[in-house]
Structure formats: C-alpha cells, structure tokens
C-alpha cells in the first residue's frame, strides 16, 4: 500500500514539476485570472460604496451583532440560525445584484433562447411562443403529491431548503373548521396550471381528449376533501371544454396566468356551483355591468426569462378584458361588507391588480361578483405560497380588521401547483379571540367611556327613540309608544340630561318637511318629564329638527319655515331669520355664525340682519355643526365619505372614508353623522351597503375624535346590532379614555401626531425618524415569479414633542422590479423624514409579499412609507 500511496504523491509532484509553461504565458494566465476575478468586485464595491445603493454589505456587517443579541436573549441556536439566514440572504443579494449578471444575463439568455431554445431555471420555452413555469410543469409530470414518499421528502428540509408542510388536506380541514366556527362556509378552488390545458407548446403527442392533465394525486385529494365535506370546485374540465369547443386559449402565452375568458368562465362555473350547492343568503341582486377594454401586457414568464428589453423573440400580449362596473358606474372593487370573500393568489389578482400589467376590475373576484350578482370581498397575495393569504388574513384579524365579519362563504383559490410545492402551514384565525385587547366586541359591550347614546330605531315596528349607556347597558326604548305617530330627530342637550325629538303623524318610510302635524318634544334621558315644546307642523327633514345652543336654548325651524331660538324653560322665543321658507329651511349653528339648509352650504349667517348669505353648495346631505361652531360636517354621497369643513378657513377634510377600512366588520356604508357636544365622539350609522333609510339594516357606531382637529383617534366601534334600522344617533360624553379605546380597537389615521399622547399609534404621520433595523430582504427565488416585495423596518421618531423616542415599524419597498431598494442598504442611525400611512387597510399593498423577520413587537404599530409611492 505504501508504494501505491507514494506513487500517487510522487506522480502528482512529478507531474507538476514538469509543467511546461513559458514565463510570459504563466504571467498571462495569472494576469488574465486576476483580471477576471478582480474587476467585477472592484466595480461592485465602488457602486456599493455610494449611499442608498441598495448594498447588502451593511446587512452583513450588522448580522453578527444581531445574532449575538439573539444569542444572549434566546440562546445560541437562535443566534446561529439568525446569522446563518443573514449569510444566505447576503449571498443571494450579492448574486442578484451582480454587475456581470445584470450586464451579461440578458444577452446570454437571448443567445441561448434564440439559437438553442433554452429557457432558464424557472421558465421553459415551448413551441410557437409558449412559455411555461417550471414548477407548474413539475406538478403535472411529477409524482402524486399525496404519495407517502413525496410527503416525507417534502417535510424534511434539504440543504438550502426550508422544511414545509407538504400535505394540503390538514391545513384545508383546519381552515374549514375555523371558518365553520364563525358560521362561514369554505369552497376550495385549485386553479389549473398552463400545461394542463395547453401542452401543445411542449408536446404534440398529447391528445385533446386527455385534457386536462392532472397530477396523479388530485383525485385522492378531492376524495379526502369530500370525506371532510369541504366543497371543491375544479374548473379544469370546464376550461378544457371551452378550449376544445371554442378554440379559445385558456392561458396567456408568455404569462403563468389564465386568459380573461378563462377567468370569466371559471367564475361563472363557480357561481353555478355556489348557487347549486351552497346556500347564500337572499339579497337584492346588484346590477353590475361589464365593458370591454383592450390591454397590452408583458407576461411574467417573459420577465422571468430575463431577456433584454430590446428583444423581439416574444411580443407583449394584447388581450381584451371585461371590466366590471358597479350600479353607479364605478369600477368594481372588493367590498369588505360583502358576505363572500375570495382568498387567492395571483390568479385572483391578474386583471384586478394593475401592477401585474393586465388591467383592473376584471379579475376572478370581479367576475365572480358579476356572476353572483352580489358584492364580493377579495384578499389575494401574489407570492409566498398557499399559506400567504391565510397569514395575511390572520394579520388583518390581529390588527383588528376582521375581514371575516359578516361573511357567509370564503372562496379559497390557489394555483394547483401549490398542492405539490406549497407550504401548507396551519394558520390560526383566532388572533382576535386570543388577543384580549382585540377580541371581537359585541355591540352591548362597555366602551371605555361614560355617557349616553340616543338614536331612532324601527326595531319595535314604529320609529321610536332609543338609548343606551356607553359604559354598557342594553338598548331601551326611550320615547313612549303612540299608535300612529313616528318619533325621530333626537338631539341631546349639551349637559346630556335631556333631549328633544319630533313626534309626527307620518308613515314609516318618509321624511316630510312641513307637511304633517306633529310636536317637538322635550324628554329627560331617564324617560321622565316629557313635554311638548311646539306643535303644529314642525319642520323635520332628516335630523334637522333642532340644535341645542346651550342647555336652555334650542334653535329649530318654526312651522312657518323661519328659524327660531326657543328658551325651553321659559318658552320665550325669537326669530333668527325673517324670510319664511317652504323647503329646506335654515338650521343655524350654536354660535349663530353659519347656517345650512338640507344641503351642505355652510352659509354665513348675519345675526344682526337675521339673514343668511347663501354659500357654495357642496355635494351631499345631512349637514350639521360642531357645537363650538368651528366645523361643519356632512355626508358627501351615499355611504360616505363624511366630510369636515373648517368654517373659518373653508378647508375640507375627511372624517371617515366611504367604506372606511378602519370600521370593524362589514358595515361601512356611512350615514347620519353627529358629533357630541364636546367634540370627542363622532356618532354615525352604517349599513353593509344598502342605502334605503327606512328598511336597511343600519347600526349605530361611535368613534373618538380629537376635539381640536376632529380627526379620528381610534377605530369606530359598533354600539347597536339589530336587523331593523338604527339611524340618526346622537351621543353625549361624560368621560372618555382614548388610550383604552385604542387598546381595545387598533388605531386609525390621525393627522397631527404632535398633539397626541401616542403619536405613533396612528396616521397619517409625517415624522423625522432614525433608522434602526430592517427585515431580511427576500430573494427573488422566494417570491418568484414576482419581483416586488415589502420589507418591515424599525424606526425611532426623533421629532421634538411627545412623540420623540417612540419606535414604530414601517413597510418599505425592499424589492421593486427585482432591484433592491435603498432602504435595504440603509445603515442604522440614518435619519429621514417619513410620510406614513397605516398598513392595515391599504388594499393596494395587499397582494405583495411582506417580509418581516424582526423580533415580534406587537405593541409597535405597522405603517407603510407612503412617501415612496
């Protein structure tokens, strides 16, 4: 053996001793090698040394310290894991930012594709311009995803791979069970992959009758779902028939996704499936309309192939989408108040999310909404696998945005390839229940406030005035039963001890102005001491019966249409206007400076001349004033928004948006705004989308506002819940704990952080802050085939004032178009001015991958950097 060993060593030494190379050639080789391996990093280092270059080096430099912190806090394993992940991320970023790669890759790929028909790791080139996504092909050609060996391999992490939950059935069963606990049904919609219907780009040997192609385990997967009584709708066969019968392409040639026709067809099929098998509550059909629109888009697979922009091998795709419009002609959009929720991935977002390049308002959810003739809510995430959208739903729940409220059916769409490749983690949906601070409220629950709410309700059959205590009490009827009379327009006195209301001989579904007999009445809040203030034909359009000037004086419209000031104790009165009006009489504010008719004009009022100078009329209705006379507010159009006008500066602001996402639950169709005397609580009514003031299910809500600015300080909370209509609320506040309110319901935007105790808890914010740390930037492979991702970073406010020192987390664009953004290379300590909006409810960001690898800190609010847009 020794001789053999020596022979090997000797041979090697001998060989190398005999290298015949002239010194000049040796130098050439060394020089050439040095140039090859030195020029590229030198250029990259020069690039990365510039500020905001998106360099990954700062991440690497910070990694050991971060790992050490974790080691000290949670142990060596966690520290090692963090360091390991940082190293992997750094290397991935280095490769993605490779200068040589950026220069050479497109040209090299074009050569390979043009002359050798080569795709790349993720894109397979087919005949006649078809491109395929490799993981989708693997799903079809690979083994059954439920085979034991496949499941076992999927569950064990290979080198460089994360372990995953490969079996989709437990996750779906768990999801269905959790939805069922809330009375919500689930229908599963695995979306076929391109080659299942269009194999012709890869093989001529597959007969049309063999379509759709499917993974060997699909049948057993469906059988297991059937055993669990989870309905599944598989559009494959319907789409294959459409392809066969009408020769329509069902997929885009250069994109992973289905064509608009296939989307519509699948949506129609699903609507039929739902109608036939799942009972949705009856509701009045919504008259959606559709209009054709031509779109020129560039396929995601073409982008993934990475050819140069000047390439001519593949052309952009010209398609025609059917955009869906609502009854008022507005483009379709997801309706959080709908009772159907579509959870999906990019197959749902395509034709809906404009950034995917193929138009808007024409995606799967829109077409399903059109086919069902009812509003549909949608939440779809493009990247991150099949658990991403459930995670996003959970995040929303945890943030207090209950996207499941009011839902009866969840449609769970995902690409069928995820059955084989996806991570089917169980995702709990009980975040609200577990987080005591954000558990689902019941309307009768106590608010962190003392005071009273009054409103008019039809719950007893007739319109009566009802009340409840803010600190918790069941609703009780306040005004007496009087056959043939309807009560309305309750307004609380400034001290909250009594109220005025109208009692009129009127039908239950009209708002007469002067036409009917009735009385303006005064009543104590305990129900006693009722008496009539005026009688005849009192004015009562909407809630404009009266306005308290102070605890004694009431401003109201007399029977002759003139506005009157009435002392409720003495009965003395005086006229505030001289000119009688038969329509839209003037209601004058408590400071006697402005007046409104039924229209929001907020005209100036001259008390000396008892005359109103009619001002510009804003669109909308339900105008009223803050008690201090500084603001007016009104509903701009059906369902909101609720606008605010500074009566001195005439600046317009928004109190609550139309379908404002800060409103928990599905009732976001706004009406009947009213402000407490001290300006600390806004009361309003909201339905889940129906406008009818007399028959719709409006409930009463209240929300804390900053009395100085009338901006929201916390999320609205619902105070009544009854199938009848609860409308025209008015509220009186004795005490109010805004901090507790915020804890019980997460914050909503507010405009002026400096004036609040917890400025970082709400937005929009415009702050100076110091950058602390950022989450790991996902690699392009992780978000493939997409190229945009948000990363969560932590900042610390450095503004002077109460906000200073507060930490907050902000979602920034980490990747856009595959390029790392400047934030990813921002070193700790950098100061910047940020314009922030709360992330929750920002639907335009719903579809993007969100990387949050920072240590959990639930107490920190999450914003996004609106200044980047």
């Amino acid at each position: 053996m020794a001789s053999i060993l020596e022979a090997r060593v000797t041979q090697a030494a001998h060989e190398l001793g005999q290298t015949a190379v002239r010194p000049a050639v040796a130098w050439l080789l060394r020089l050439g090698f040095a140039l090859c391996v030195v020029v590229v990093p030198a250029l990259e280092i020069a690039r990365d040394s510039k500020r905001d270059s998106g360099s990954a080096w700062p991440d690497l430099a910070a990694a050991p310290a971060h790992a050490w912190q974790l080691t000290r806090r949670t142990g060596a394993l966690a520290g090692n894991r963090a360091l390991h992940e940082s190293l992997i991320a750094f290397e991935a970023a280095l490769e993605e930012r490779s200068l040589l790669g950026a220069r050479a890759r497109p040209r090299f790929q074009e050569l390979l594709t043009r002359w050798l028909g080569a795709g790349n790791e993720q894109v397979v080139t087919g005949r006649r311009g078809w491109l395929y996504f490799r993981p989708s092909l693997d799903y079809l050609t690979g083994p059954g995803f439920l085979e034991p060996g496949v499941l076992k391999r999927g569950a064990s992490a290979g080198r460089g791979q994360k372990s995953r939950h490969p079996d989709p059935v437990p996750a779906l069963a768990d999801f269905a069970a959790r939805l069922a606990e809330r009375g919500i049904g689930l229908v599963v919609v695995p979306t076929p992959v391109k080659a299942a219907l269009h194999p012709e780009g890869l093989s001529k040997d597959i007969d049309e009758s063999d379509l759709p192609l499917q993974n060997p385990s699909l049948a057993s997967f469906l059988a297991r779902l059937a055993d669990l009584e989870i309905p599944a709708y598989i559009p494959d066969t319907r789409l294959a028939a459409a392809k066969h019968d009408r020769s329509w392409p069902q997929f885009l040639r250069t994109d992973t996704h289905w064509t608009p026709e296939a989307v519509e067809n699948a949506a129609r099929g699903l609507a039929d499936f739902v109608d036939a098998r799942l009972a949705l509550p009856e509701r009045r059909p919504v008259a959606f309309t559709r209009r054709l629109a031509a779109v020129l888009g560039r396929g995601d697979l073409l982008a993934l192939l990475g050819l140069p922009a000047s390439q001519r091998l593949y052309q952009p795709e010209r398609i025609v989408v059917q955009r869906v419009f609502g009854p008022s002609g507005e483009p379709w959009r997801a309706d959080p108040g709908a009772d159907v929720l579509v959870l999906g991935d990019s197959f749902t977002n395509i034709y809906s999310q404009g950034k995917l390049g193929f138009g808007e308002s024409a995606g799967f959810a829109a077409q399903l909404s059109y086919a069902l003739r009812r509003p549909v809510d949608a939440l779809a995430v493009n990247a991150g696998g099949p658990s991403a959208v459930r995670e996003r739903l959970r995040e929303r729940l945890a943030a207090g945005e209950d996207r499941l409220a009011g839902k009866r059916l969840v449609v769970y769409q995902f690409a069928a390839r995820e059955l084989a490749h996806g991570d089917w983690r169980l995702v709990g949906l009980d975040a609200m229940a577990n987080a005591g601070a954000t558990r689902p409220r019941r309307p009768e629950d106590a608010l962190p406030a003392r005071g009273a709410l009054v409103w008019e309700s039809s719950r007893s059959g007739d319109w009566r005035i009802w009340t409840r205590r803010l600190e918790g009490s069941p609703p009780r009827q306040l005004s007496p039963d009087e056959p043939g009379l309807q009560h309305c327009c309750a307004h609380l006195s400034p001290d909250g001890s009594r109220l005025v209301y109208l009692s009129r001989s009127v039908s239950k579904d009209e708002y007469p102005e002067f036409e009917v007999p009735g009385e303006l009445r005064l009543l104590r809040l305990d129900g006693a001491g009722g008496r009539t203030l005026t009688s005849g034909r009192p004015y009562g359009w909407g809630n404009r019966a009266a306005l308290w000037r102070n605890d004694r004086e009431l401003i109201h419209v007399g029977p002759d249409g003139r506005t009157r000031l009435l002392d409720v104790e003495s009965g003395a009165s005086s006229w505030l206007t001289e000119e009688p009006r038969t329509k839209l009489a003037w209601l004058i504010d408590a400071t006697l400076s402005h007046a409104v008719s039924g229209s929001p004009t907020f005209s100036s009022y001259d008390a000396a001349k008892r005359r109103v100078r009619v001002g510009r009329r804003f669109p909308g209705c339900e105008p009223y004033f803050s008690h201090d006379g500084r603001f007016g507010f009104w509903v701009e159009r059906g369902g909101g928004p609720i606008r605010l006008i500074n009566l001195a500066s005439r600046e317009i602001a928004t109190l609550l948006e139309h379908e404002d996402p800060s409103i928990p639950g599905a009732q976001r169709y706004l009406y009947f705004p009213m402000l407490s005397r001290d300006g600390r609580l806004l009361a309003f009514g909201a339905s889940s989308g129906d406008h009818d003031h007399f028959r719709s299910n409006y409930d009463a809500f209240v929300a804390p506002v900053d009395p100085a600015t009338l901006t929201l300080q916390g999320r609205p909370l619902r105070l009544t819940a009854h199938p009848a209509s609860d409308r025209y609320p008015d509220v009186h506040v004795e005490t109010l704990d805004v901090e507790r309110w915020r804890r019980e319901a997460p914050p909503v935007p507010q405009s002026d952080p400096a004036t609040h105790e917890r400025p970082v808890a709400a937005g929009p914010l415009d702050v100076r802050a110091v950058f602390r740390v950022c989450s790991r930037v996902p690699s392009l492979r992780e978000i493939s085939p997409y190229r945009d991702a948000l990363v969560v970073c932590e900042w610390q406010i450095v503004e002077a004032g109460a906000a200073s020192g507060r930490r907050l987390r902000v979602a920034h664009w980490g990747l856009r178009g595959g390029e790392r953004q400047a934030i990813t290379s921002t070193p700790p300590g950098v100061t910047a001015r940020l314009r922030l909006e709360p992330l929750v409810g920002t639907v335009q960001l719903d579809g993007y991958a969100l990387s949050d690898s920072l240590p959990p800190a639930g107490e920190l609010p999450l914003y996004y950097d609106a200044g980047e847009d």
Binding site: F33, A76, L137
Partner: protein, 471 residues
C-alpha cells in the same frame, strides 16, 4: 459557499489569495486556516465548532500516539481507538441518526407495531463535508499509528490540514501522509500558479457549462412520475454526465486552488467512463475515496489474503459501506451492493469483466451501461422510485399522458448540445491533468476563454447544485 458562486469567485478567493501572498510565510498557515473556517462557517456557523472539536480530538490523539513508544501496543491502540471511535461517532450521529430512526420506524411499522412519529424524535442536520473531513482527520492518527507519519508539532498546521478549504467539503480526500511535508514547507512558483489557474478554469467550465445543463435534464427525468423508455435513458445519461462533470470539475478546481496556495493534491479522476470493467471503473472514479477504503477498510479486513469467499465478503462490506458513505439511505446501499456484486463477479474471473473478450468500445459501452444502472439508485429519491425508473428504462413502466411533457424538457437544442459536448469531452478529450502539462499560448488563451465563458454562464444561471456537497 460553492466554488461556482459569485461570492467565492469574486470576493472570497481574491481576498484569500491577496492576503495569503501579502503575508510572510509564517503567517500564511494561520490565514489559510482562518479563511478555511470562514469558508466552512458560511454554510452554518455552528458547524465550525464541530470541525474544531474533531480537529482537537485527532490532534490530541496524534500527540499521544507520538509520545507512546511503539512497543506499547495497548496504549497506542487506545489512542487510535479514541480517534477512530470519536470520528465515526460524529459521522454516525450526524449522518446516520435520521436514517437509523427512519429505518427502525419503518421496521416497526412493517411488523405491525406503532412506528415512531418523525416529529417526535430529534432530527439532525448534516454538517457540510463531514464525510470528507472525518476520513481525513482519521487518516492522521491511523498513519501515525502505523508509523507512516510523524505527529505534527503545531496545532495550527493540523487545523489547516483538516480545514483546508480547497478540498474541505467535497474532496478529494487528502490523507495526512500525502500532504504532511507540504504542510511544513511548500513552494510557490509562477508555473504552479499558472497551472492552478488552468485547473480551476477548466474545472469551473466543466461544472458550469456541462454539469449544470445536464443536471437540468436529469432533474426533469428523475422528478417525473412516469417516463417513456427513451426519456428514461436520456435522463440517466444526463445524470451520469452531471455527476461526473460536477465532481471531477470540483476536483479540478480543488487541485487548481491547491496549486495556487502551493499545495499539490493527487489525481482524483482518471476518465472513469472509459473504463473497460467495473474493477477498472473503481480505479478511475473518485480515486481518493476508493483508495482510502482500500487502505483503511478492505486491507485491514484481510483484503484478498484470507481466501476467495472472504475476499468476496470483504469486497461486499467495503462497497456497501462505501455506498452508505455517500448517503444515509437504502438506495445508496443498493448502489454500493450493485457495484460490489460486479466487483466480486470480476474478481471471480480474475479481475476481468464477463464481456472481456469483446472489442474495447463494446467493453467500455457495457461497463458504462452497468454504471448507468447504478446511477439510477444513486439519483432516485428512494428505492421504489428507482424501481419505477428502471422499469421505464426497460420499457415496462406506465407513462401517463403528462409524461409526454417531459420530452419537451429533455430534447431542447440546448439540452442536446450539452449532452453531445459532454459525451465528446468524456470519451474524446484529453484529461485536464495531461492537457495542462504543457501550457502554450493558445492553450492559455483557451483556458482564459473557458474561464470567461464559465463566469458569464455562472452569472446567468440560477441552477447551480453541487451533488457531492450533500455527502
């Protein structure tokens, strides 16, 4: 970090070389050790501690062995035993624990007893390159025990030997006795460096330009549930080229990097697919492993000195364990058994193949076919999948309609060109070792051209696995 990565080629390697040559000779060993630990720790920082532990054990055992008189057999056996047991324990625990648990669980299940739930037991992560460095480290104490080497005085020298990054994670397995003198003293010449550049460049080209495209084809075939016969053969052919160019490319790069740092590593591949028999194949394939198994396992078991049947038994044991060394799964055992059976058969025929009388091209072709069958076990994810694949190669498997899609992946012009070039290099081109013996100007140009093209291709590829990294 793999050699064919942006980080290694453009940052790690230039920095390692620049600092190495900037330092005085005394400090170079330290730098090389630090760089090697950084290289290794990049895969998982915690594994550095494991390697350091293994290094310390063997260095200590070596010192004890050196200090114990040759006549004191008991003491020497004890210390070599400590070294062998500790290395095999590390290897056994980290590489075979999961396999043992899974096999035990499967056995219980087969017997109708309740199997262990995979989540209920510890799952062990396999440290990178542990199969290689434990064998290297063991060879140190074994060589001292046998009196073939003297123990090193410097822990740093020994740490440098064990961790030497050019060959740390995928070989070749360098025995201590092969490199002991170089650890103490080695030369650095322009010729050596130039040849190192040539080895590295050609190895990188093998890896990036041939192994990766072939691997893409092989994956498409081996990941498929059903295959047509031709597709199955194309797939395994592609895999044969992938594993050869992947591993021999890596070995060339390792040898080249070694030369750049002044080390001379012996040859690891000798055109194995030109072998005329399986016996010949194992003289040519992964020579450093086969010779290690021969010298440290086969010969100590008695080799061929204890009779015919014992020889067969020893061959079987060596090949089965060799298979298991490659991977902790039964299909690797079967792969080893397949080769062991062939070796035994040829041993019975005087180290000649059953087809030894056929013309040479036929002998090479039949040997290659036998190797291909073995590669099916090597590549398939498990034994049932290997069985299905072999059935497809034999025209016995069922191919679902979707199997026709696989053809669209296998027979692209790019795939066919890659396979053709790979075949030409395999059977027609000179070996790197021979070709670089004389580096003329045109050859230097070709070397640098290969390097440039490989770097461009490397920057363009997302698919870049290294097969032997998992062993």
């Amino acid at each position: 970090m793999v050699f064919s990565s942006h980080l290694f080629v453009y940052y790690f390697l230039p920095a390692a070389l620049a600092v190495y040559y900037a330092l005085p000779p005394r400090a170079r060993q330290l730098w090389l050790s630090l760089a090697s630990y950084a290289f290794y720790g990049w895969a998982n920082p915690a594994f550095m501690a494991l390697m350091l532990f293994s290094t310390a054990i063997d260095f200590g055992c070596g010192r004890k062995l050196g200090a114990t008189l040759p006549a004191a057999h008991g003491g020497r056996r004890f210390w070599v035993g400590v070294s062998v047991v500790s290395n095999l324990s590390l290897l056994g625990f980290f590489k075979y624990f999961n396999f043992a648990v899974d096999s035990y669980s499967a056995l219980l299940g087969a017997l109708g007893l309740s199997a262990l739930h995979p989540d209920a037991v510890l799952r062990i992560a396999l440290p990178l390159g542990i199969s290689f460095y434990t064998f290297q480290s063991m060879s140190y104490s074994l060589d001292i025990y046998r009196g073939r080497s003297r123990p090193l005085e410097s822990f740093l020298d020994f740490a440098c030997y064990v961790s030497l990054f050019p060959q740390l994670v995928a070989g070749p397995i360098i025995r201590y006795s092969e490199i002991a003198d170089q650890l103490r003293e080695r030369s650095h010449t322009p010729e050596k460096f130039a040849r190192g550049v040539a080895f590295f460049s050609l190895g990188l080209a093998k890896k990036v330009l041939l192994a990766n495209p072939c691997g893409f084809v092989a994956d498409a075939a081996f990941d498929a549930a059903g295959l047509r016969t031709l597709d199955a053969w194309t797939g395994v052919l592609a895999y044969a080229f992938q594993i050869y160019f992947d591993f021999s490319g890596y070995s060339d790069m390792a040898i080249g990097l070694g030369l750049m740092f002044g080390f001379v590593f012996p040859k690891n591949f000798d055109s194995p697919y030109r072998a005329e028999s399986i016996t010949d194949f194992w003289r040519r394939w992964h020579i450093s492993l086969s010779s290690w198994l021969r010298d440290y396992l086969y010969l100590p078991l008695g080799g061929s000195r204890l009779g015919v049947w014992r020889t067969y038994l020893n061959l079987g044991i060596v090949m089965l364990l060799g298979g298991l060394w490659h991977g902790a799964a039964w299909n690797f055992v079967v792969w080893g058994g397949w080769h062991g059976a062939w070796l035994a058969l040829e041993r019975a025929r005087g180290k000649r193949s059953p087809y030894g009388r056929l013309p040479r091209p036929a002998r090479v072709a039949l040997t290659f076919a036998g190797v291909l069958v073995g590669w099916v076990f090597f590549r398939a994810p498990d034994l049932p999948a290997a069985g299905r694949y072999l059935a497809a190669m034999g025209g016995l498997g069922e191919a679902p309609a979707a199997a026709a899609l696989v053809g669209g992946l296998l027979y692209t012009p790019y795939a066919l060109l890659s396979l053709s070039v790979a075949a030409s290099v395999t059977w027609l081109a000179p070996q790197t070792w021979d070709w670089t013996r004389r580096l003329t100007l045109p050859r230097a140009g070709l070397v640098l051209g290969c390097l440039a093209l490989a770097l461009v291709a490397m920057a363009s590829q997302g698919y870049n696995p290294f097969i032997y990294f998992i062993f």
